[in-house]
């Protein structure tokens, strides 16, 4: 049995509720931080009657950062849902196919080898671009490795992802070995993930990427559902499995690449959120994809608010916060694995 049985009837209400909670967490994120604002201050800011300092902090710092957190969180959760559907395994995480390790290696290259180059694109620094390129390159190599005459082998992809994770890890270590103290600190901070440096250019880029990928994946919802039955079962239901796999992999690689490039590696959102949502509404991608997006956004906004305010004015890296929250949640989910259908 499932908590929500007649999901089709209550779906609009559920989506609206998720939207309202997201709105509430955005308001909370705007209020809390190094400086605390009251809802009255927010209202004054919204109606344009706030003083210059409030205008600056809310409009130029907190609002873009909050929006970025929401978009990155949603993107991570959506990519996680799609990856788990693709591998037909609710333990699969986008980092399994090597995105995170490749991105870390790419970022390290930019930090260590290209430190004198000042160049940016769409508000993304060279480190971000290096991370994006590294993540994409590894996924491309893993995918080519797994693609054989008889289609894409999911097992080979998982193992290939592991091999390339090790290779990229070794490469990163080599760069760490060559790096000086300042570079080392930048590298390790980058890897912990953070949303500082948010501006409206990045928000715009993320908004385009997130909505685009969400729309593309949502169009494949029926095929993704059929794929959960198994590859040949999906084929017998008229799904072009190879084409579907290619589309999902491209979406996940792009989405994860952009997310990692803007916010570093943020753990557990992509793994835990789809789990929690499936417990509530079941595995139908029509519901899991949008709701995961909302819940991922809510979680990362709240985690970032916490990271900004708990040791204010010092900021914790938000990746640390999600890992500290995510790991215990994941362990408690594992204890109910029969319900989740991970297999016995």
């Amino acid at each position: 049995m499932r908590p929500l049985n007649h999901i089709a009837q209550i779906w609009p209400v559920l989506l609206l509720a998720a939207g309202l909670v997201l709105l509430a967490s955005v308001v909370a994120s705007l209020c809390f931080g190094a400086l605390t604002f009251t809802p009255t201050d927010l209202w004054a800011w919204l109606t344009g009657r706030a003083d210059a300092q409030t205008q600056l902090i809310l409009g130029q710092l907190r609002l873009p950062r909050t929006l970025l957190a929401a978009l990155v969180g949603g993107l991570l959760a959506i990519c996680g849902t799609a990856t788990q559907g693709l591998f037909r395994n609710s333990l699969a995480d986008p980092s399994l196919i090597g995105v995170s390790a490749g991105a870390a290696a790419g970022a390290s290259v930019a930090i260590v080898l290209l430190r004198d180059v000042q160049w940016s694109l769409w508000g993304l620094s060279l480190v971000s671009l290096g991370a994006f390129a590294g993540g994409l390159l590894v996924v491309l190599l893993v995918y080519r490795l797994a693609r054989g005459a008889s289609g894409t082998s999911v097992v080979t992809m998982l193992l290939g992802g592991m091999a390339f994770t090790f290779l990229a890890g070794a490469f990163t270590s080599l760069l760490e070995f060559m790096a000086d103290n300042d570079m080392l600190r930048r590298m390790s901070l980058w890897r912990m993930g953070g949303l500082d440096g948010a501006d409206f250019v990045r928000v715009g880029l993320l908004a385009v990427v997130t909505t685009g990928i969400a729309a593309l994946l949502l169009r494949q919802r029926q095929a993704l559902n059929a794929l959960l039955l198994g590859e040949s079962e999906a084929r017998h239901l008229g799904v072009d499995v190879q084409c579907l796999q290619r589309r999902v992999i491209v979406c996940v690689a792009l989405g994860m690449g952009v997310a990692v490039a803007t916010a570093g590696t943020i753990a557990f959102i992509g793994l835990v959120v789809p789990h929690m949502v499936r417990m509530l509404v079941g595995p139908d991608h029509r519901y899991v994809l949008p709701l995961s997006g909302c819940v991922g956004a809510i979680l990362l906004v709240l985690a970032d608010t916490f990271a900004r305010s708990v040791m204010a004015p010092t900021e914790l890296p938000v990746g640390l916060v999600t890992a500290f929250i995510g790991a215990p949640v994941f362990i408690s989910l594992l204890r109910q694995r029969r319900y989740l259908g991970i297999g016995s």
Binding site: L229, L237, G238, I342
Partner: protein
Amino acid sequence: MAGPILELQQVSVTLDQVECLRKLSLVLQPGEVTAITGPNGAGKTTLLRLIAGELRASTGQVHLAGRIQSEWSLSFRAKHVAVLPQVSALNFPFTVEEVVALGRSPHSTGSQVDAEIVDAALAAMDMTHLRRRLYPHLSGGEKQRTQLARVMAQIWRREDAPARLLLLDEPTASLDLGHQQQLMMAVRDFAAQGVAVLMVLHDLNLALGFADRLLAVHKGELVADGPATQVITSELLQLLFGASAELFHHPRTGRPLVLL
């Protein structure tokens, strides 16, 4: 729909330079329940995969609803042929009715029609009372019945496709005796709606009881084809399985029975 649902003419299949099927010819008519038997590795599964469109014929021709194999599109195949797999890999917590509803995904018949078909398929497989249960929690037999309801829902209506073919690979493997009989009755009723059924069966007594026709495959060749009661002989069993089997006749109905 006049004419056969499936027609194989002199079909051979070669995989990795091994000839798995050799010059096999076969015609399946609507409403016919056909069982395939034969030893392990004889080519039964290869035959099912060929008909399901997963393999191509090396020589010879395969026609489904009058259309040659190279012209089957994915959606054409999905509307005409439903396949029950031997084992299912599904481990996501879909409910039983959601699994059955997935069978309707090749069609765009609207949620009203689909819901009615799902209800009817669940009832046919005696699964209505379990419809809200989560699939990973079911027993092996219940999973099998859910999957059968799903593939039946896929080709439920004559309006969706005039020629419909149901392929079953060992459908009774994990069922108790009562549900074996119930499944076979449901398959027979389903065939009576004009569906051709082709199933791999190891249990010859089930084949004798419920199949109109029995095919015996041995080393990639069709060695027997006809009404089950006439095809099964001690010689055939010796050839297929190398086993000395006794053939009895039921004292009341006169139906043959195989005892090893």
